[in-house]
């Protein structure tokens, strides 16, 4: 006979195990069924600010972060309210978004697509962010936009200037307030032709990724349409810090204009190298050699110092603008941080406000409702004049500024002067323009 080993203790043990086993399904079915990813259920709502804190665009990232913090402060009723008071839509009243207090998490994209996506994923999965915004580079912005589409959250693009962001890589859950390479070309080319003549020979140095490629394409097309020719287009790695070896061949190439499709730290270094090589004193075919930086920002101008004087470029916004919105923004940013905001700071501040307002107008955090509220939305008072969020590609259409490095700056921030404000009609294009065709928004994805 087999002796039974069941003691009281064994019975208790197996009973506890069985109990745990039975309880398991009950615990698992307890997971809440929400209508969309990260539906905020408490008294707060979390936004994810994903910006480069290291890498060549770290300066822009730091300024973006400042603007985000300011925007959150204003949304929660702190500070002087900034552009909320000048914004044409009046749903923001300082009580957060839909009455929920705004909280935020930050992450470092390292200006790398992999890192940016990892950081965004942790915001969505760990911190429960309902909206991701940021990016100071188009590569990461496009990658994160695709991720947000899959995950079912809204992506409000920060500083991304590639045509592809709202072109072939556009997504239903993604929105861009910033302008793009095509707009830069359309605004800049007429000014360039007027200043430097219609028969110039251009040499492009281009940051080797989506933004550089599309800006190079846009500028070349726009200038060639006005009679310029392009002698060479050279791609430089984004991680480069020394451009001497790329500048040297320009000297004897026969070109008389150098176009630097570089941004951030890249542009600071390449422009400095170009000036060191004496390009600005050089004469080709009896005409002064010119350098053009199609995408300009005050932070870059500050980094490049003396070298930017007289150099033409385009920008999304500049703090010296005198409309009510710009003045209010510069005022509250300056009060908090002691210096004026950059265009990167401006665009992300606008994006945060636009998102908050869209949620308020939609009456829901559901991404699909937000998409509906933003599509075709017309607004004013955010520093760029009347602006349209076009429904076809989720791109904002507004005036573009052509700027020039100031010859005699009055102070450390007074580095750029606005040469021309190009009206929105001149930079508007068809959504099916060859430079933008190939992608599809798809359906909005609420996730869950």
């Amino acid at each position: 006979m087999v002796k039974s080993l069941k003691t009281r203790r064994d019975v208790l043990k197996s009973g506890a195990l069985a109990g745990a086993g039975l309880a398991t399904p009950v615990i698992f079915t307890g997971s809440s069924a929400s209508a969309f990813t990260n539906e905020p259920t408490g008294a707060t709502v979390t936004l994810g600010f994903n910006v480069p804190q290291t890498g060549p665009y770290a300066d822009e990232g730091a300024d973006e972060l400042r603007a985000y913090e300011l925007a959150v402060e204003h949304l929660n009723g702190g500070g002087d309210g900034g552009m909320i008071s000048t914004f044409s839509s009046k749903t923001l009243d300082g009580t957060g978004i839909l009455g929920k207090k705004v909280e935020y998490v930050t992450g470092d994209t390292q200006t790398k697509t992999d890192a940016a996506r990892a950081s965004a994923r942790s915001m969505i999965e760990k911190d429960g962010a309902i909206m991701i915004t940021g990016g100071s580079s188009s590569g990461p912005a496009i990658a994160v936009q695709a991720l947000c589409q899959e995950a079912g959250v809204i992506f409000m693009a920060g500083l991304t200037h590639s045509n592809d962001t709202t072109g072939k890589d556009k997504k239903a859950n993604g929105f861009r307030h910033f302008f793009n390479g095509y707009m830069s070309g359309a605004a800049l080319a007429p000014v360039l032709a007027a200043r430097y003549g219609a028969d110039r020979v251009a040499y492009h140095l281009t940051a080797d990724y989506t933004w550089g490629w599309t800006q190079e394409e846009s500028i070349a097309a726009a200038t060639e349409a006005l009679g310029w020719s392009t002698i060479d287009k050279v791609r430089t790695p984004l991680a480069s810090t020394d451009f001497s070896s790329y500048i040297a061949p320009v000297l004897n190439s026969g070109a008389d204009v150098l176009i630097l499709n570089h941004y951030g730290g890249n542009m600071v270094n390449s422009l400095t190298n170009a000036v060191e090589f004496g390009l600005r004193e050089k004469e080709v075919n009896g005409r002064a050699f010119e350098i053009v930086v199609p995408l300009y920002s005050r932070l870059m101008a500050a980094g490049a110092g003396e070298n930017v004087k007289g150099i033409l470029g385009s920008t999304n916004w500049h703090w010296s603008l005198q409309d009510q919105g710009s003045k209010a923004f510069v005022q509250s940013f300056g009060t908090k941080y002691g210096f004026p905001p950059s265009q990167a700071a401006h665009t992300v501040y606008c994006q945060t406000l636009l998102y908050a307002d869209a949620v308020n107008r939609a009456g829901s955090f559901n991404p699909c409702a937000v998409v509906e509220a933003l599509e075709g939305f017309e607004f004013d008072g955010l520093g760029n004049g009347p602006t349209l969020y076009r429904a076809e590609d989720h791109q904002c259409f507004k005036d573009v500024l052509v700027v020039q490095g100031k010859e005699n700056p009055e102070n450390a921030f007074d580095l750029l002067e606005v040469v021309e404000i190009t009206p929105v009609e001149q930079v508007t294009y068809d959504p099916e323009h060859p430079m933008f065709a190939g992608g599809a928004l798809g359906e909005c994805n609420p996730g869950a």
Binding site: I27, G30, S32, D114, A118, K126
Partner: protein, 402 residues
């Protein structure tokens, strides 16, 4: 069990248990507590733990056993990722073909690089592998843009052929219909545990990879590799050709890296060139040394440690710090925030570097040495740690260049 003795079986079972309960173990703090910041039990990070665990286990087969220090292992990781994403683009989102191709291509790639690099040993070998990896990185970054999509990273577009994708089929990565991003969220008390399909998929593969590495460590082949490490010259003098052994170890380790790369792409269908950069190669070296080179568990611990820092410490910003020290008087609060600030957020590298120095100086055997010291402290068995557990302890090996 399965060709292992009792001791190794127990070891394997512990590893399996730890892996399966990771979603619970990494979530020690309730959601509402201020320490929830340090919870790591969310899918993305858990997947990374498993994937980089595989990467480090594979690297350890080469470095830990033969002593050959490869500085270019990230190249195989990248090759695996690209292969997998291409399978997504051409066939469908099922990860299986991608993973198989990732292992095959990285194996072939490793065979090529290993065949050339292994003609030298020591520092020359390291430099050769580094050169090959940087070459691959630059190729992926700019020259081979049509294949790799350069800096933007290779992604799947809706207009890609995807010949096997049925109408209305899954548009996220899956294994025979089971989507990787599917999660079961179980709120228990104040805690919230996330059981994610992708993580368990990676975990099962990681356990298989660990088992395979365990078998290699215990096999005669593993013994030969150790012999290479302790004295390659003596082996040659006895008439043994060591090249086939080292090459086999190199290829196996390259295939592990390719598998890890394929899994990375399977969890998130994007392959960026920067995962082939030399910093990524250096990272796996750090993982292995930090955890304990030549030990079975060490590299996995090291991988987890580094990924934890990268993902958790980098997310602590000034706002969070102010929250922590809010109970202090204002001046003191600001002072503390100023002191801590450089070590968190974007300064996580600094903290990691300091810890790495501490480990290398005070725990030359890596993180596993902590366990050994603790065990020695409690069992008071005396003797060297090697006597307590001769096979799991790192051996003082001559420098690879000698």
């Amino acid at each position: 069990m399965a060709g292992l003795d009792a001791r190794d079986t127990r070891f394997l079972l512990i590893v399996v248990a730890l892996t399966l309960f990771t979603p619970i173990l990494l979530q020690p703090f309730p959601e509402s507590s201020s320490l929830a910041q340090f919870n790591a039990g969310y899918p993305d990070l858990m997947q990374r733990f498993a994937i980089f665990g595989i990467f480090a286990i594979g690297f350890n087969i080469l470095f830990g056993l033969t002593g050959y220090l490869s500085f270019g292992h990230a190249a195989f990781l990248g090759v695996g990722s690209y292969a997998t994403v291409w399978m997504f683009k051409l066939l469908s989102y099922n990860v299986l073909p991608g993973l198989i191709l990732a292992v095959i291509t990285s194996g072939l790639f490793a065979l090529l690089i290993g065949y050339i690099s292994l003609r030298r040993s020591g520092i020359y070998f390291s430099i050769l592998t580094l050169a090959f990896a940087q070459m691959s990185f630059n190729l992926a970054y700019s020259v081979l843009t049509p294949i790799t999509n350069g800096e933007t990273g290779l992604q799947v577009y809706t207009d890609d052929p995807q010949y096997l994708l049925a109408e209305g089929g899954l548009t996220t990565t899956h294994i025979f219909g089971l989507a990787m991003n599917k999660s079961l969220v179980a709120p228990v008390g104040g805690w919230e545990f996330t059981f994610n399909v992708g993580y368990y998929f990676c975990a099962v593969i990681a356990i298989a990879a660990f088992y395979l590495s365990l078998r290699i460590f215990r096999s005669p082949f593993g013994m030969m590799l150790r012999a290479v490490k302790s004295n390659q010259q003596r082996m040659s003098y006895t008439g043994l050709n060591t090249r086939p052994y080292t090459l086999a170890a190199f290829v196996i380790s390259g295939m592990y890296a390719g598998l890890a790369g394929g899994l990375m792409a399977s969890m998130d269908p994007l392959a960026g060139a920067e995962r082939m950069q030399w910093t990524a190669s250096g990272e796996v070296v750090l993982m292995t040394i930090l955890g304990g080179a030549g030990t079975l568990m060490g590299p996995v611990l090291g991988a987890g440690f580094i990924k934890y820092f990268e993902n958790i410490f980098s997310k602590i910003n000034d706002n969070v710090l102010h929250g922590w020290f809010a109970f202090l008087p204002d001046g003191l609060e600001d002072l503390l925030v100023t002191i801590v600030h450089p070590f968190v957020g974007k300064g996580w590298h600094l903290t990691l570097g300091l810890l790495f120095m501490l480990v290398v100086i005070f725990l030359p055997g890596g993180l596993v040495e902590v366990g050994q010291r603790l065990r020695r402290l409690f069992t008071r068995r005396g003797g060297t740690p090697d006597a307590a557990d001769p096979r799991h302890a790192p051996k003082s090996a001559p420098h690879v260049a000698e």
